[in-house]
C-alpha cells in the first residue's frame, strides 16, 4: 500500500509539481464529518418545518351532519 502511495506521489509530483500528501486528511476529514452532519441536521429541521406548514395549511374537513 505504501509503495502504491509513494508511486502515485512521485508520478503526480513529476507531472504537475503538486505533492500528494495523505496526511492532510487529518485536517479535512473532520470538516467532512461536520459538514455532512450539518447538512442532514439543517435539512431535517426544514423537513419538520415543512411537515408542520403542510398541517397548518390543510384545513380540517367539517363533518356534514
Amino acid at each position: 500500500m505504501d509503495t502504491i502511495t509513494t508511486t502515485i506521489a512521485e508520478a503526480t509530483s513529476a507531472a504537475a509539481g503538486i505533492g500528494f500528501t495523505p496526511n492532510n486528511l487529518a485536517e479535512t476529514v473532520p470538516i467532512m464529518g461536520k459538514g455532512m452532519l450539518g447538512i442532514f441536521i439543517v435539512m431535517g429541521i426544514i423537513i419538520l418545518c415543512v411537515s408542520g406548514l403542510n398541517r397548518l395549511g390543510t384545513k380540517p374537513k367539517k363533518d356534514k351532519k
Binding site: L25, T28, K34, G38, I46, V50
Partner: protein, 381 residues
C-alpha cells in the same frame, strides 16, 4: 516599411499561450452553439476568453491596462470581487424559476438533496491530499455543488487562486450532466431497481405553505450557516416573489430579463480570469479532474441513500431519483426521468426527481455556507 510596423507592430506581442486560449475560447463557443451545452454561459465565456487574450501593449510600457481588459476587470471588480453581486442577483432569478411544490408535497425527498452533497466534502479531502491549500481545496470541492453562483460565491469568498478554472469546471460539468450521470447511475443500480415505480400523490399545497416556506428556510439556514445567508436569502426572495401571487410582473422579470442580463455579464466577467498566464497551468487540468470526481461522488451519494432507505421502507424508492440531488437544475431531474422512461415507458419519475433536484439546490447552498464556516474556522486556527 514604417507604415507596416505601425499597423502590424502589435502582432509581435502575440504569445503562443494566448493562441491556445483562443482555441479554448473557440471550443467553448463550439460547445455552446453546436452541442447546446449551457450556451448562455459558455458562449460569453468563450468569447471573453478570446477577448482578454488578445495581444495588448505591455502595461509596464504604456503605464495603464488597455481598454478592453480594464473594462472586463472593472466588471469583475464590481460584479464578483467586491460583494459577489452577480451570482447573488442571479439567484433571485433562479429562486423565481423554482417551483418547490414537488418537495413540499413530499418533504422526505430533501434527504436525497442532503446526501448528494457528499461529493463536495469527498473532493475537499481529495484536493487537499493533492497538495492544494485548504482554501483552494474547498473552492475546488464546491464544484460539486453543481451550481454556478454558489461555486463563484464560495471560491471568491475564500479568495481562491483558481477561481477561473473552478468556474469553467462548474459550468462545463453542469452542461455535461446528461453525459456524466447516466453511466454512474447504471453502474450503481440494478435493472430491477431502475424499474421501481413510484406513485405521485399530487397533493395540493396551500398558498400559505408556499409563502411561508422561503421565509422559514431563510431563517433556519441563516441561523445555522450564517455565511450562506446571502445566497439562501436571495434565492428565497426570488421564490417569495414568485409565490406571493401579487408580484407576477416582478416574478417574470426576475425569471427572464434579470436572469438573462446578469448571465450575459457573468459569463463575460468570468472570462476576465481566463488570462493565459493564470489559466494555462497543470493545476487547471487537475481541477477539471477533481470537479468530475465531485459530480460522480455526488451522484453516488444520492443513489446510495435511496438504497439504504429502501432497506427500511415499505414503499420502495427508485434509487435513480437520488442522483437528481446534485442540484444541476433542471438537467439532472430530466436525466433521471428519461432513464426511467427508457427502462419502462410507463414509469414517470419527473415529479419525484424534480422534488429531489430542488432539494439539492437548497442543500448545495447550505453546503456552501457550511464549507465557508468550517474552512474559515480551520484557517483561523
Amino acid at each position: 516599411m514604417d507604415i507596416l510596423t505601425d499597423i502590424f507592430g502589435n502582432l509581435a506581442n502575440i504569445d503562443p499561450k494566448q493562441v491556445i486560449m483562443w482555441i479554448i475560447g473557440g471550443v467553448l463557443i463550439f460547445l455552446a452553439i453546436k452541442k447546446e451545452m449551457e450556451p448562455t454561459l459558455l458562449l460569453p465565456m468563450g468569447f471573453g476568453a478570446i477577448l482578454v487574450n488578445l495581444p495588448i501593449p505591455d502595461p509596464a510600457v504604456t503605464g495603464e491596462v488597455s481598454g478592453v481588459r480594464a473594462v472586463i476587470d472593472f466588471l469583475f471588480e464590481i460584479g464578483i470581487d467586491s460583494h459577489e453581486l452577480f451570482p447573488l442577483i442571479l439567484f433571485i432569478g433562479i429562486g423565481a424559476m423554482i417551483d418547490f411544490e414537488p418537495v413540499l408535497t413530499n418533504p422526505k425527498l430533501m434527504i436525497f438533496g442532503a446526501a448528494a452533497q457528499f461529493g463536495i466534502f469527498f473532493t475537499l479531502c481529495l484536493s487537499s491530499m493533492f497538495g492544494f491549500e485548504l482554501k483552494d481545496a474547498a473552492s475546488i470541492a464546491i464544484i460539486g455543488a453543481a451550481d454556478g453562483p454558489t461555486s463563484i460565491f464560495v471560491a471568491n469568498m475564500l479568495n481562491s487562486n483558481y477561481t477561473a478554472a473552478i468556474m469553467v469546471a462548474a459550468y462545463s460539468y453542469m452542461a455535461l450532466v446528461p453525459i456524466v450521470q447516466p453511466p454512474i447511475i447504471k453502474l450503481c443500480t440494478t435493472k430491477k431497481e431502475r424499474l421501481i415505480r413510484m406513485n405521485y400523490t399530487g397533493k395540493k399545497v396551500s398558498k400559505l405553505t408556499k409563502i411561508l416556506f422561503p421565509i422559514v428556510v431563510t431563517i433556519i439556514v441563516g441561523m445555522v450557516a450564517p455565511d450562506a445567508t446571502a445566497l439562501i436569502g436571495f434565492l428565497m426572495f426570488g421564490n417569495l416573489i414568485r409565490e406571493c401571487g401579487v408580484l407576477n410582473s416582478l416574478s417574470e422579470t426576475a425569471q427572464n430579463v434579470l436572469a438573462n442580463l446578469i448571465t450575459i455579464f457573468l459569463g463575460f466577467t468570468i472570462a476576465s480570469k481566463m488570462v493565459a498566464e493564470d489559466f494555462l497551468k497543470l493545476e487547471t487540468l487537475l481541477i477539471m479532474g477533481l470537479g468530475l470526481v465531485a459530480f460522480v461522488v455526488d451522484t453516488f451519494g444520492g443513489i446510495m441513500i435511496a438504497k439504504i432507505m429502501n432497506l427500511f421502507t415499505k414503499n420502495k424508492i427508485n434509487p435513480m431519483i437520488g442522483a437528481a440531488g446534485i442540484s444541476a437544475f433542471p438537467m439532472s431531474a430530466r436525466v433521471v426521468h428519461k432513464m426511467g422512461l427508457a427502462e419502462d415507458n410507463q414509469n414517470f419519475l419527473l415529479m419525484h426527481s424534480i422534488g429531489v433536484n430542488v432539494s439539492g439546490q437548497v442543500a448545495s447552498v447550505i453546503a456552501g455556507g457550511l464549507i465557508l464556516t468550517l474552512v474559515g474556522n480551520a484557517l483561523i486556527k
